[in-house]
């Protein structure tokens, strides 16, 4: 039981980092970015290739993040410079990345059990602690660092521009800033976070699988929707915290579904069904809110 809970937490925090990226593209930029399904395994491919080549695992992690950022920027360039629609830009990038990831890894999957990873390097600092805990601690630390970095960025001047480009591009233009550039930067940051999640996941399980990205965007969206609607009520919680709770809830549901006798290959169906349920719940909550709002207005009148 305890190992199941730890597994859920690990997955929740790793994929929560990915959901932070989806929060940027989907919520802040209003850009449904499907390249996420390719940048998650991109992060994994870069890490796996680097580690098997003997590169320091932390450096491998950094390179994964940079690769994700570049891929995100290219999605942005397809949309902004070449005027391809946002949805199609993401699909094209996702498709291209399948081949790119294969190239980087050199094969459809890599196993590198026993190689040095960020987890083996971290557990050396606290040798007394069992690996299960030290792994979880490291994952949580990386997740917190990613969340705080994003919180900080969104409060900078550059972050302010990012927030305004999604809700009012015209304002960015009147401020004499190039909205296309802001979008490209935003998508780069978003996919850098997604690739970070992919890299941490790959180093955690010491394996890379070229098709491991399928369904990433759906999970990310579900967590963002749960994080923004369900946890909106809780005032002191930021959305960037909410998405982690959202992802943990989501991963719990998946785990329950899989453990109740479904095959691992049923995963994508489970992910999809859960996502639809999330959407239904979301409209239900919003409707309730509107009804309440109307009631309040009636009282005022």
């Amino acid at each position: 039981m305890l190992s199941i809970i730890i597994g859920i937490l690990e997955q929740g925090f790793i994929f929560g980092i990915m959901a932070l990226g989806v929060y940027i593209s989907y919520s802040i930029l209003d850009f449904p970015d499907l390249s996420v399904d390719g940048t998650f395994p991109l992060g994994a491919a870069v890490s796996a290739a680097m580690i098997t080549a003997g590169v320091n695992p932390w450096l491998a992690l950094l390179l994964s993040v940079i690769a994700g950022g570049i891929a995100g920027a290219i999605t942005g360039i397809l949309n902004v410079k070449l005027k391809i629609t946002d949805l199609l830009s993401g699909i094209l990038m996702m498709t291209a990345l399948y081949s790119v990831n294969y190239r980087i890894a050199g094969s459809p999957n890599i196993f590198f059990m026993g190689e040095k990873t960020i987890f083996t390097s971290f557990s050396q600092f606290i040798p007394k602690l069992p690996d299960v805990y030290s792994r979880l601690i490291l994952i949580v630390l990386i997740a917190i660092a990613a969340k705080l970095a994003l919180d900080w960025y969104l409060k900078t001047k550059s972050g302010f521009l990012l927030r305004s480009v999604g809700s009012n591009e015209g304002l960015v233009i009147t401020l004499a800033q190039n909205p296309g550039r802001v979008k490209i930067i935003g998508l780069a940051v978003a996919n850098a976070l997604v690739a970070l999640a992919g890299a941490v996941n790959c180093q955690r399980f010491t394996q890379f699988d070229v098709s491991s990205g399928v369904g990433t965007i759906v999970m990310g969206l579900a967590a963002v929707i749960i994080g923004t609607t369900v946890f909106k009520k809780v005032k002191f919680l930021r959305v960037t915290t909410g998405v982690f709770f959202g992802m943990i809830i989501y991963k719990t549901c998946i785990t329950i579904a899989i453990n109740s006798g479904l095959n691992a290959s049923d995963m994508n169906l489970v992910i999809t069904v859960l996502f639809v349920l999330t959407l239904v719940l979301n409209t239900f909550i919003n409707k309730n809110k509107k009804a309440k709002g109307a009631a309040a207005n009636a009282v005022i009148k």
Binding site: K155, K157, T174, A176
Partner: protein, 257 residues
């Protein structure tokens, strides 16, 4: 200072919706002029502003600002010297950000939007004093997200944001139309003060004839993509609301209405 020469513009050419608005349109505005532009709905006032800011491309003609040819320049680059308040009250502010955040972002125009702190805490009291003039109580709501403000409040905020850093040219598109009569007068008065204090060349579109007469140094009336009246100086001083209305009516009769 600003000159539009030989502007041609046809919307949706080659389709059933084809509409030719400007054929050889010309307009020159001198430095420090404060132009009040009136005209019927659909006469092309907003489109003129869009042509100046680069929001829509022209088919032919040139847009010059202080001897610089803007015709091919990207819209956001033109904004370095031009500020604008839109006809749509939600266009001039970012709804998901607070009043404080909106004012800070506007205050930074012309500088780099880097990794420094976005909120300009040093200028908080200055922002509050600016809002206080509006008499809308916004000075006590700095941390309110702008989407929860009314259209009129947003428009007033948009004016303050647009003039936070001094532009060379200010474009106002019915910026008081969304306001109640009292706020409308307050904002119009404030506009006049800002324009004079900062010596900003201004083109203001309005449907409020009283404002068009009371404020500004030159009046222009538009009709179907043409300037039908352009007066300034003593001739303008003699014009009354009735005179404007008379021209309005004459135009309508010519059109057979």
């Amino acid at each position: 200072m600003l000159s539009l020469s030989n502007i041609h513009k046809t919307f949706n050419p080659g389709t059933p919706d084809e509409k030719t608005l400007f054929t050889d349109f010309n307009l020159n505005i001198n430095k420090n002029e404060f132009v009040a532009m009136v005209g019927s709905n659909g006469s092309g006032k907003t489109t003129i502003l869009n042509v100046i800011t680069g929001g829509i491309p022209v088919d032919d003609g040139t847009v010059m600002l202080d001897g610089i040819n803007l015709t091919k320049m990207a819209d956001y680059k033109r904004s370095k010297r031009i500020a604008r308040v839109f006809q749509d009250p939600s266009a001039g502010t970012c709804p998901t950000m607070t009043i404080f955040e909106n004012m800070s972002i506007a205050d930074n125009k012309g500088k780099i939007y880097g990794l420094g702190h976005g909120l300009n805490a040093k200028r908080k009291y200055f922002y509050q004093s600016q809002l206080e003039v509006l008499g809308m109580g916004l000075e006590n709501r700095l941390n309110t997200p702008v989407h929860s403000l009314s259209g009129g409040q947003r428009q007033a905020l948009a004016l303050i944001m647009a003039t936070m850093t001094t532009p060379d040219l200010l474009l106002l598109d019915e910026h008081t139309a969304a306001l109640d009569p009292k706020s409308s007068d307050i904002v119009m008065h404030l506009t006049n003060e800002i324009v004079h204090q900062k010596n900003i060349t201004t083109l203001m579109v309005t449907h409020n004839l009283r404002h068009a007469i009371e404020y500004g140094t030159r009046s222009i009336m538009m009709h179907e993509g043409n300037i039908v009246l352009d007066i300034s100086g003593s001739k303008r001083a003699d014009y009354t609301i009735d005179d404007y209305l008379k021209i309005f009516n004459e135009i309508s009769i010519e059109c057979g209405n």
